[in-house]
Symmetry: C2
Subunit: 531 residues, 2 copies
């Protein structure tokens, strides 16, 4: 297994990882065993949850991790001239055969302080993996989280299409946006390359304004005939003009009408027209209905319209009303034709549209999804054990204190139709919590916050993804991961997931981890002196 | 020439480009000649300018543009089952041999409404290029613009290091961030892969907190000897302890001291220490100074410190003061040692630090640069000529009206040491403005806004980058493009470039283009009726 993006190789890392590796090597301590936690400190979007993604790409990185001579030459070029060559001989031997990685499952709802990965191995090798691991989970997690929030805001019955390629942060940003918005709950993408790379992802899209503008009049419809499902041939121009007459829409833009006819002729079973090039209600929708009635006459069912500007709530309601009126007037079944909306739609717009009332079935969402509002996951990579000794990074800000030692994590569920109530971190060597047993859960830093849970279900959160060889069971089809995300969104209390001011989901530590943490803190943090 | 990212191929586009191409093909109008303008409507960051980038990658895309059988099979898979196979035969013949592209130079300061590219060719081929062209310039331009703004905020004498890989939107987002922040005025990157790919780009970086945390005490310094430039061998631990004693700093963290000693031993000529793991002023700086004095004793010059948390203005001033005090006490020249700052630095932080006064020489900038604050360029791809007839896209919002027809663009400079005063768009077939001649410049939509310029210099803005074959002259070394950006930043009035409320730079049209635009608008925009 290789990384999806061929640019991902051992050079895709920060230079300081090499600086440190060399210095450890020179000190003879580069193969000391280390454990690192990867975690984050706050959810993106000021939200209550994060959808964790990028695990498979981390596995692909680790699988293929080795240095070619060319790559070693590049590292050597940037190191000091007097760097000892034994280091480069060592680099040549580096791979991940002695590395072990546990991880939350791809698509897990994740929360601050719960490690996403626990990476164990020779310290210099583990360190080299820092920047690429963080780089490979950051954007996927932010996009998947954004997509899940958009799914919650749009409602379960809407179709969500990712349209972001042109505004994405570069080619593989666009491809990642497609892949990870799908697992976060979207239905399709505009990006053909992503659909090629990831089985299960379907591309969607019809036409742009340029299609409409490229027609000035009906003379540009060079081929007018259309064959019905029954084999009979009709003149689609004549039929469309006839229906336009009956609709009283003689003043619609003729170039637009021509473009719709040419488009319907190419896609008689997939006729969806962009109706806002000239005037949505005065020209676009009447032109669409003229051609839709003609298609219906021939024996095909039109699909619907896309609106890309203006007041989407108002325009969609008016369009729906026109669909219904035409249905009655012509005794056709156009009432439920699809209305697609696009144009800078984001979570806020969806919430506002929901309040105003709208008739949109399907949303095309681009810029705000792929730029993720400038959010980053803020993943950090913190040493918790070195040379067998637990390490703690103390800080005046308790959110920045790293929980020391090698750990496990459990999600405890309560109730008859179980909802997640708390994520519990424990030391690696203590007994796991069990269903039906009392479990003491402590806030890691606030001694007064204690909670007894008698879980109806206990889920161990980590799976081993790599242990010198890949665990291929964790490479799941995209739609399975997507379903996993959607199931979790239904398996948490909705106040943890709401868009604004969510109730923080609890992340606790076991009594043993609490005591261990605080004894280490007491010995590591000096007592301040005032004199 | 191939695209830097191997994922860039003809499938990296929006599906609707194929939908339209097929429908044009079916109508027999797919090879009608078309002209498209690529432009944007507002500068990112509410700013006064955009640094345009990504041109070389567009050229690489176009150079290599052709369909393999596998790619055609993918397109066919997503098209309706009854799509005619002649279309796929045509796709097999598609390349850019009949396409011509003019472009602003890579690194140009660019402004809303001035086309970045003018693309001419068979309409269906030109349309297929829409999404990839927009995708290839979006992130590069936003990053280069952000970098230039940061350069202006930091001042010309500061070193700017891009540290964004781990927070970048994916692997090639990280690589692009390195490349385009450099051309926007940064000095280096942390990203080794980017430094491999782009000659001239140097990676920088020293060590992380994990380096410091991996040492608990001096016992972990396994090799204590250091050889001076004069060949004499010293014990670096003993020397450092001696200087720590003299500095009165016995209470500093011993693990940190050990880590600094091991690091200095590896990089005697490049000793730069991260000093905020425990306590910047009580532990980090004294430990640094102990080892720096030891190194100095041996005959090496230490480099400096990095501060990654806390009040950067205060800490840098205090550190500078300590450097000066030590310089006096020990008769060494430590006053100008480098102080590097990192930790969520952005343009606003730099402006605030500038006001507070600080002693920072060098900034490591990551998240805010690579996420670009969620900004996108908003490039659009608009048909201006089809089948030889100029097209206009009218809109109630004049910012969205496309200037019709095939055009040229000029930058007019005035004054003895010429400053840019206006960008002038003209029709392709009118006479170019000339230095020393009166040039009437009109606002495209406001008839009252007219300006006479007698330019001291006239610069034609477009260069042909592709005309069935590449213009290799436009592929310039990175540092040349960087210098071009910096020269322009000095060649515009500073009020156009200021961070907040910049004076808009003028973009005008010639009298002929004005008349042409308004005659087309009069004929295309229907008169509204009230009845």
């Amino acid at each position: 297994m290789k990384p999806t993006n061929p640019l991902v190789d051992p050079l895709l890392t920060d230079f300081y990882e090499y600086s440190m590796a060399y210095a450890w090597w020179l000190n003879g301590t580069h193969e000391e065993p280390a454990v690192v936690d990867v975690h984050f400190r706050r959810n993106p979007f000021d939200g209550g949850f994060t959808v964790f993604a990028g695990v498979e790409e981390v596995l692909r990185l680790v699988c293929d991790y080795h240095f070619t001579d060319d790559q070693i030459a590049v590292v050597r070029r940037f190191m000091p001239e007097d760097a000892q060559s034994g280091f480069f001989d060592w680099l040549k031997t580096v791979d991940c055969s002695r590395v072990r990685i546990r991880s939350l499952r791809e698509g897990s709802l994740a929360f601050p302080r719960v490690p996403l990965f626990i990476v164990e191995g020779p310290i210099a090798v583990v360190q080299l993996l820092e920047a690429p691991i963080l780089a490979l989970i950051n954007y996927p997690s932010v996009v998947a989280t954004s997509a899940a929030r958009i799914r919650l805001a749009a409602g379960w019955d809407k179709t969500l299409m990712e349209f972001g390629l042109r505004r994405a942060p570069g080619p593989d940003g666009g491809i990642s946006a497609s892949r990870y918005s799908y697992i976060g709950g979207f239905n399709s993408t505009s990006n053909v390359k992503a659909a090629q790379l990831f089985p299960g992802l379907r591309p969607s899209g019809t036409h742009a304004h340029s299609w409409v503008q490229s027609y000035l009049g009906l003379g540009e419809v060079k081929r007018r005939d259309i064959t019905g499902p029954d084999g009979r041939i009709h003149d689609l121009v004549e039929l469309s003009l006839q229906y336009r007459e009956e609709l009283g829409g003689n003043h619609t833009n003729e170039g637009e009408l021509a473009s719709f006819i040419a488009y319907a002729r190419a896609y008689p079973r997939g006729f969806l027209a962009l109706v806002d090039t000239y005037d949505t209600l005065k020209s676009g929708v009447p032109n669409f209905l003229s051609v839709a009635l003609a298609l219906n006459h021939v024996g095909y069912r039109p699909v619907g319209i896309r609106i890309d500007s203006g007041d989407l709530a108002f325009l969609s309601r008016r369009a729906r009303q026109l669909f219904r009126e035409v249905s009655e007037q012509f005794e056709v079944d156009f009432g439920k034709l699809t209305i697609v909306a696009s144009n800078d739609i984001d979570e806020q717009t969806l919430l506002a549209l929901g309040q105003q009332g709208h008739e949109i079935d399907s949303f095309g969402i681009g810029t705000r999804l792929v730029t993720a509002g400038g959010e980053a996951l803020g993943g950090v990579y913190k040493l918790t054990v070195a040379s067998g000794v637990p390490r703690i990074k103390v800080s005046g800000d308790s959110a920045k204190i790293t929980l020391p030692g090698k750990k496990r994590a459990f999600r405890l569920y309560a109730g008859e139709s179980p909802l997640a109530v708390v994520d519990l971190l424990t030391l690696a060597d203590e007994a796991a919590p069990e269903p039906g047993q009392r479990v003491l859960c402590r806030h890691p830093f606030d001694e007064t916050k204690r909670l007894i849970v008698i879980p109806s279900r206990v889920e161990e959160l980590y799976e081993v993804i790599w242990d010198g060889k890949p665990n291929l069971e964790i490479v799941r089809p995209l739609n399975e991961t997507r379903q996993y995300v959607l199931d979790q969104l239904a398996g948490f209390r909705q106040d943890h997931l709401r868009p604004v001011n969510p109730t923080p989901y609890k992340v606790s530590v076991s009594a043993m981890l609490y005591d261990f943490l605080h004894s280490l803190m007491a010995s590591e943090v000096p007592i301040a002196e005032i004199s």
